[in-house]
């Protein structure tokens, strides 16, 4: 099993930490992982993205231009990464702030209204975990036990009290995710 994922959105949306928790969960179940962020000043207020690979085998390139899954949290990222999903791959997006929906028909597209839901529930801080939950519903590449361990490892101990909220958010995300049908245009 090798899963190659890009997660992309605004700087403040928890994109990097979502990737890190996913990667750490992979580590917890003895898989090979890599987490490769975009970095530098363009992150300031701008977009951020991270490539996460979880695999049973030694990972060759940590940098990719095609992905099994793209998790997309703003319009810029949609513009940039829709085409990078491999045929037959998966694209998940949060519709909040998306002005142009994805058009590809050779991939599976899901929407997850995590931003709205998190706002409603007062769980904005774990919005990213909802999105992760949605992804894991579709591709359960790491199991819940290892996610728990991953959370423990990747959150600084002063934030461990937030782990239950994180896990709750994952559960909510699993419920929230919805397939999208791309219409003929």
């Amino acid at each position: 099993m090798t899963e190659e994922i890009i997660i992309a959105g605004f700087g403040g949306q928890g994109v990097l930490s979502m990737g890190k928790i996913l990667a750490y969960s992979g580590v917890m179940q003895d898989q090979e992982v890599s987490w490769m962020p975009s970095y530098g000043p363009e992150m300031r207020g701008g977009t951020a993205n991270v490539t996460v690979i979880v695999s049973d085998e030694r990972i060759s390139s940590p940098i990719l231009n095609k992905f099994d899954t793209a998790i997309i949290l703003n319009q810029q990222s949609m513009d940039k990464f829709e085409d990078s999903v491999k045929p037959g791959g998966l694209l998940i997006f949060d519709p909040n702030g998306i002005t142009r929906f994805p058009k590809r028909k050779d991939i599976n597209i899901y929407s997850i209204a995590a931003s709205d839901e998190a706002g409603k529930l007062g769980l904005s801080i774990v919005f990213n975990m909802m999105v992760l939950g949605g992804f894991l519903k579709l591709k359960p590449i790491v199991n819940l036990e290892n996610i728990h361990k991953g959370l423990e490892k990747s959150l600084p101990s002063r934030h461990h009290k937030l782990i239950p909220d994180n896990e709750k958010a994952i559960g909510i995300g699993m419920e929230l995710i919805q397939p999208i049908q791309v219409l003929e245009s």
Binding site: Y24, V33, M36, P37, Y39, P62, I63, N65, K153
Partner: protein, 360 residues
């Protein structure tokens, strides 16, 4: 087997340094490697192991702190990225000339000039052929994973003391910024004062009545003396070339063609090998791990077995000169490079292999 962590390459370097018994780190912030110092400042090894961590006023100051620190016989390191490393060239030449052990980490970014903060391999020549003045070399390690970022710290310290020479870890922004699994070795304690004094009889530890004063200098106004020093250095480099070569061969047994690449490029070539082999092209990878000493003999032998070599670098063609100087068979040796922070993709590498080498 040590402790398992998911870490950035830069963090791995910092943690590995603490665990390797490093005595002092001196650095100045620069993207994409500031995490090295940030990690150290957060870990506060000065409270645990006693390791000194100091933010200098510049890279010129850093390298000269390193030079001063190295003179004491302690285990010292600095890290920076391309423009900062350029500022260190005088100091590096001094370290080489005075034969002091020290570790310098260059997390390369795209140049020239201010360039970009994206990863690059354009500092190969600077690291390997000598960016500073005079005839000198550093031992240069090119890690291709976070694990190697950690491992080469202790390896580097060891080599630095074995040969009394500056050592460089030449990596790039991508490996510095990415996280991978890393097994951290168990911490070794910092050496005691007595150990340093006995292991480094050349160091400035304070002159006891029992020995002459130690002098650390690279100056010899007498050309004959200066030539002797140079001959000592050249002899040292010969020994290093004999003993310290490190490289990796991946899928070379049945290979008709060979990628040669170091660091991040080697990782990308591995992916390219997957793609090429899917297409039925038998290609392997020769990865020099030490760039100086360059694995001349090994690539020469490979060169006698294969039909062509493609050197993939994130630069305009630097290591390829060492490949060409090493290989003695009459096969095509071509370069493929991207610049300025652009990372070549596996499919374009395969394309170029097909067009430039196989199509030849």
């Amino acid at each position: 087997m040590g402790e398992l962590r998911l870490m950035k390459g830069n963090e791995a370097i910092a943690e590995a340094a603490i665990r390797a018994g490093c005595d002092g780190y001196f650095g100045y912030p620069i993207t994409p490697q500031s995490e090295v110092m940030e990690y150290l400042m957060a870990e506060k090894p000065y409270e645990s192991t006693g390791m000194v961590v100091l933010q200098a006023e510049s890279e010129v100051a850093s390298i000269n702190m390193l030079y001063g620190g190295a003179g004491t016989g302690k285990i010292v390191m600095t890290s920076s990225s391309s423009p900062g490393i350029s500022l260190m060239q005088e100091g590096i030449s001094y370290l080489a000339g005075t034969q002091l052990p020290a570790l310098i980490v260059n997390i390369v970014r795209g140049g020239p000039g201010l360039g970009t903060i994206q990863p690059s391999q354009a500092d190969y020549n600077q690291a390997v052929k000598g960016g500073g003045h005079g005839d000198y070399h550093m031992i240069v390690y090119a890690p291709a994973s976070v694990q190697e970022m950690a491992d080469f710290v202790a390896t580097g310290f060891k080599a630095a003391f074995k040969y009394r020479t500056p050592v460089m870890i030449l990596s790039d922004g991508a490996i510095g910024q990415m996280m991978e699994k890393v097994y951290l070795s168990d911490p070794v304690p910092r050496r005691t004062e007595e150990e340093i004094i006995s292991q480094c009889p050349w160091a400035t530890t304070g002159r006891p009545p029992t020995r002459d004063h130690n002098i650390i200098t690279s100056l010899d106004l007498d050309p004959a003396g200066q030539e002797r020093l140079n001959l000592v250095l050249q002899e040292k480099y010969r020994k290093i070339e004999e003993n310290e070569v490190m490289y990796e061969e991946i899928e070379c047994e049945d290979a008709e063609y060979i990628f040669t690449a170091f660091g991040l490029s080697a990782r990308i070539c591995q992916k390219a090998i997957e793609l090429a082999r899917e297409k039925g092209i038998n290609v392997g990878l020769f990865r020099p791990i030490t760039l100086f000493p360059f694995p001349k003999k090994e690539i020469r032998e490979l060169g006698r077995k294969v039909k062509g070599i493609m050197v993939v670098e994130m630069n305009a063609g630097q290591m390829i000169e060492d490949v060409r100087l090493s290989v003695d068979s009459d096969i095509p040796i071509e370069h493929y490079g991207r610049f300025g922070g652009i990372i070549p993709t596996p499919d374009e590498i395969v394309n170029v292999l097909e067009n430039k080498i196989i199509g030849d």
